[in-house]
Each structure stands twice: as structure tokens, then as C-alpha cells.
């Protein structure tokens, strides 16, 4: 079992308290009336699906009840960092620095 840092609880909590909620930072078309089919298609279906750094939404459903974002390495399955919903996407340099830090000796 993993411990996931909830940025609201500010605690590492057991993974069974959480539920995954898809890719983060997917922006809904600002004006739905005028958005084209292609824009809707991109919003609804297109996901990055990377092998490596992935920005994800997580839901602390059996805890504080908050959605937050996480940066996770889909290869090692390690959580690199978590941040509150609405906060900007962390810079790649910040993420890479943390990945080096978390590397075992």
C-alpha cells in the first residue's frame, strides 16, 4: 500500500482512502456555445497517457473529501508531489529535482 500526501490534510495517508479522478489540467472550452466539435473532442477524449511524469487529479474521498492534483511517475508509480486544486502546474525543473531526491541510494 502507498502513502499519498494529501495537500489539505498535510499528511501521508493510506491509498485506500483515495480515488483516482483522471488527468489534471484538462480545460473545458471557455464558451461551450461556440466551441467546435474538435475542441469538445479534445476536452472529452484526448489524454496524454505518458510513460513518465503524469499530472493527475485525486480525490481524498474517505478523508477530507477534497480533490487535489498529483504529479506521479507512471513508470515507477511513485508520487512525486501533490498540490491543491486550482494551483498552477509545477515547473518541470521542480519535478525533476524532486525525482532525483527520491531516487534510492
Amino acid at each position: 500500500m502507498l502513502l499519498i500526501d494529501c495537500p489539505y490534510c498535510r499528511q501521508g495517508r493510506p491509498e485506500i482512502e483515495f480515488s483516482h479522478a483522471g488527468e489534471a489540467h484538462m480545460e473545458r472550452p471557455a464558451d461551450p456555445e461556440t466551441a467546435s466539435d474538435a475542441q469538445w473532442e479534445a476536452f472529452l477524449f484526448h489524454r496524454t497517457n505518458p510513460a513518465g511524469i503524469h499530472f493527475e487529479r485525486w480525490y481524498h474521498i474517505h478523508g477530507c473529501g477534497c480533490y487535489f492534483n498529483a504529479v506521479r511517475d507512471t513508470v515507477s508509480e511513485k508520487f512525486i508531489l501533490t498540490y491543491k486544486a486550482g494551483e498552477p502546474r509545477p515547473a518541470v525543473s521542480e519535478i525533476e529535482a524532486l525525482m532525483v531526491e527520491k531516487e534510492p541510494e
Partner: protein
């Protein structure tokens, strides 16, 4: 105006008059807590002081903190979510006072008295029994803290008074499941 809470139907209590005492001291003691009124309060932290005035009790500000009074308790479960516990006799005045609060502070107060049931869990084996199904580090959880979490396969709200005294809030329909789970967990010998 809603009917005074104490004249409504009696809440469903699948544990009714049960108690459980395992071992000599007893090592594990379980008992349903007395019935009480429960409210789910959602309010921005900025209006928390006003909410505490309406509640006529302390309401802590940070997730995991709880304020346990003689009759009224307040548990902070999320950044803008609290569970308020109070004796039935105070329920109606809490509802009325919060309805007056709508004028000055946007909030939501929902009567969830019949949603969950309290179970007292105490004794030297209490932590072991709880930790048999709850992966939180209960040993290092400070006394006087609370949290929503998972026990076995059910969601609970856990209150820690001290290392040998806890309270669970569990959905009423799941209460027998959790009761039996703790009973069995309490029987496991520690090697």
C-alpha cells in the same frame, strides 16, 4: 418550521442494547454511544466564529482537530466541513440559530442525526482491534484528534480520546458489520 427532533421516529439502531467485553480487564470493550443529534456543517473558515456563536460551542479550525465539550462536540473533517454532535434537547435551538445565521453568513447545516451511529471502543486492545482493519498509524495519532477514514471495508469517522479510548461514527446499516469485525479482531492474540 420542522418538527422538534425528539418527537420524530426513533432512529434505527441495529446495535440496540449490545455491549461486548472481551478479556479480563476487559481488554476490549464495545458499546453503542448514546443517541445524539448530528449536523453536517459546511461553511467558509472566515465565517467560522459566527457559526460557533450559533452552535454555542467551540468549533476548531483545522482538519483533524476536534472540540469535545460536556454535551456538544465539533469535529473538523475537511477544509470547510464539520460534524457537530449535540444532545437531542439542543437540536431544535441549533437549527433555529443557524437558520438566523443565513442572513449574515452563507453556509449549509444538514441534520444527519440518523445517518451514523456512535460506537465506543476502549480497553488495552482497542488500538490493535482498530488497526486490524484501519491502516492509519493510530499509535502516533495524537489524542484529541479525529478523521474520516476506512475500517475494514466501511467508511468511518474515528475519534481518538486516548490510546485506549476511541469513538467511531459508522453508517447505521454497516454498524453490525463493524461490530462483528471488531469483535473478531479483538479475539486475535498478539504474539
Amino acid at each position: 418550521m420542522s418538527e422538534p427532533i425528539e418527537t420524530r421516529l426513533k432512529p434505527f439502531n441495529p446495535l440496540a442494547d449490545k455491549t461486548l467485553a472481551l478479556g479480563g480487564r476487559p481488554d476490549l470493550f464495545l458499546r453503542p454511544e448514546d443517541e445524539c443529534a448530528r449536523f453536517s456543517l459546511r461553511v467558509p473558515v472566515g465565517a467560522l466564529k459566527k457559526a460557533a456563536v450559533a452552535f454555542e460551542g467551540n468549533i476548531p479550525e483545522n482538519i483533524g482537530e476536534m472540540s469535545v465539550g460536556t454535551g456538544k462536540s465539533a469535529l473538523c473533517l475537511g477544509p470547510d466541513e464539520w460534524l457537530l454532535l449535540a444532545p437531542y434537547r439542543d437540536a431544535q435551538s441549533i437549527i433555529v440559530r443557524f437558520s438566523q445565521l443565513y442572513e449574515t453568513a452563507a453556509h449549509s447545516l444538514v441534520d444527519v442525526s440518523y445517518c451514523t451511529l456512535g460506537i465506543k471502543v476502549c480497553g488495552p486492545r482497542a488500538r490493535l482491534a482498530l488497526n486490524s482493519g484501519c491502516p492509519l498509524d493510530l499509535e502516533n495519532m495524537p489524542a484529541g484528534r479525529c478523521t474520516r477514514t476506512v475500517l475494514a471495508k466501511a467508511q468511518i469517522i474515528l475519534l481518538k480520546f486516548d490510546d485506549q479510548h476511541y469513538r467511531l461514527e459508522i453508517a447505521r446499516s454497516f454498524a453490525p458489520y463493524i461490530w462483528e469485525f471488531l469483535k473478531n479482531a479483538g479475539k486475535i492474540e498478539e504474539h
